[in-house]
Symmetry: C2
Subunit: 334 residues, 2 copies
């Protein structure tokens, strides 16, 4: 049906919900208006065989996740996502129905998070699937949270729990290996549903951004945790010119994550610190906000910012200081 | 050196030149401020083996072209490009020097057109190179030119000349075939330099947008010619609900294009109408602006907009009306 026919089919019934979206798909550019707020732009590229494995990732979930991880980058600036553009390179093994499944996931994410799909590019590839999404969002100038604003004595906070998405990936990989060459294979996911969901259908923490707004709190620094807590802590400390102390016993971990680590004979804290793909928010607030911040549901204070000369350390349960190193989930997977 | 090391190396000395660019590379998002103008966003994805052939496209030229074609989409709305984000998926056969060459072309284009490189994503791919660029630009609300504003009796104008980029591609493909298996092969480009340049190093028509601004002219509709004049005319006519008459003898064609068509025994008008990749501007203005528009350098009036019931036709030199069909350069290449 050709590129234009496919784009028409995928985008013909899109309704724009944000007042900042003036013109969506169908011209040389999308057109937006941001007269009172600053504009945030983030972009992510996902390549088959590197970022996803279609053996166990349904295309609809892939579309959903690809959109949500971009929204997460906008929330990580304390803003709200408003528009996305979606570019796809698709090899011949994908049918129109495959692409529609992928798009249905992207559009579901847009619907749930109130984001407008305003443009993109769809083309062939010689092999595999590549998804490139750019997200545009906004925030009032005085609410934007950069990585660079953390100050000594600030509290270090994280939302939700860590390491579950990584454990979900380990589980999916294990079952993929177990299923190889077997007909009617039934993967063993019972009691591990949370891990699978965290890996295949992550959510971005809009609720946290809304709770911070409502409480009148602007974090001094913020990031989303995509590469792992260790890596993101080092980014914030480097950008802010500070050090940090994070307490092992404060790191929030779900019991399914803990059970899975035991089953796989993996170090739980390493998984939680370096697992990645959690899409939780890591942020800092001034010390005097301790009571306000701990009142917010699902927020844990895991440590504090220090002077730079103290370095970045994890304080273990036996009170030993271990330097934090950025391993990231890519490194761990190797 | 890892993703972060590579990104640092490619982006460490970038200076932002636009006042709308508040924060570039180095946080979860780039941050921009557009308080007086509307925001334009365009995105393009280029895949190796589909959009470019590294046998004859130097990586620096590829980077330059990848950036410029995005700028062209912003100019096509009568706006100015201000920021880009660059996402790359790179297979193992590319070295850091290759990626630096690609980036040097992107950065040269940014420097020449006054655009800030504010973000991106760099990742591995299992095969080949994929380049996804998103461009952000702006325009005063009352100057934006959509595809949908053309009215019957409007003049149809194009900048520059058409078909040369397509002929350049034919020439490069011919020399690639001729060179196969030969050592010290010397391609035959003498007297065809313009065609090669149009294919390998296209420019976006900022000068036309500036001339229109200076003359106080806002086109009633506008597009850039990336898929070929026929295809773009049909887009404008469909979006505007109108027809058109375009005169064969008015279509601007360079003599090198004409000579090459003769040498390859190709129909010259077909090449000019469907060749694509010209990145010239196609636009319409009210009839009464005839004298003003023909005064602008390098602008040709090639026909006029009609009522929709008259359809979209090319009027040949012998006064026959031929319906315009969208072939596009992809179709022609098959």
């Amino acid at each position: 049906m050709g590129e234009f026919g496919l784009i028409d089919r995928l985008t013909n019934d899109i309704k724009l919900v944000n007042t900042s979206s003036l013109k969506g798909v169908g011209d040389d550019c999308a057109v937006m208006r941001y007269r009172d707020t600053d504009v945030l732009v983030s972009t992510d590229l996902l390549a088959e065989g590197i970022h996803f494995d279609l053996t166990y990732v349904p295309l609809k979930h892939l579309g959903y996740k690809a959109a949500v991880v971009n929204f997460s980058d906008i929330y990580a600036m304390n803003g709200h996502p408003r528009q996305i553009t979606v570019s796809l390179a698709i090899s011949k093994r994908f049918t129109v129905e495959h692409i529609e499944a992928l798009y249905s996931g992207i559009r579901l994410a847009c619907e749930i998070y109130g984001v407008d799909l305003v443009g993109g590019d769809t083309t062939s590839s010689r092999s595999g699937l590549v998804i490139s999404i750019t997200c545009i969002g906004d925030a009032p100038a005085d609410r934007i949270a950069y990585r660079s604003g953390a100050k000594p004595t600030d509290l270090i906070c994280v939302s939700g729990d860590l390491g579950a998405a990584y454990m979900g990936l380990q589980l999916l990989e294990r079952e993929k290996v177990a299923s190889a060459g077997q007909k009617d294979f039934q993967p063993q996911f019972h009691g591990k549903e949370y891990l699978i969901e965290r890996q295949l259908k992550p959510e971005a923490r809009r609720d946290v951004i809304e709770a911070l707004e409502k409480a009148g709190i602007v974090p001094t620094s913020m990031m989303d945790i995509s590469d792992g807590l260790s890596s993101e802590l080092l980014h914030i400390c480097k950008a802010s010119g500070v050090g940090c102390r994070v307490y092992e016993d404060r790191i929030p971990i779900d019991y399914q994550t803990a059970l899975m680590a035991e089953e796989l004979n993996m170090n739980l804290v390493t998984a939680a610190m370096n697992g990645g793909e959690d899409y939780e928010l890591l942020f800092t607030v001034p010390l005097h906000m301790h009571d306000e911040i701990t009142k917010l549901p699902g927020i844990n204070v895991i440590g504090n910012i220090t002077k730079p000369e103290l370095g970045c350390c994890l304080v273990t349960r036996d009170d030993t200081e271990m330097p934090i190193r950025a391993q990231g989930w890519n490194h761990m997977a190797e």
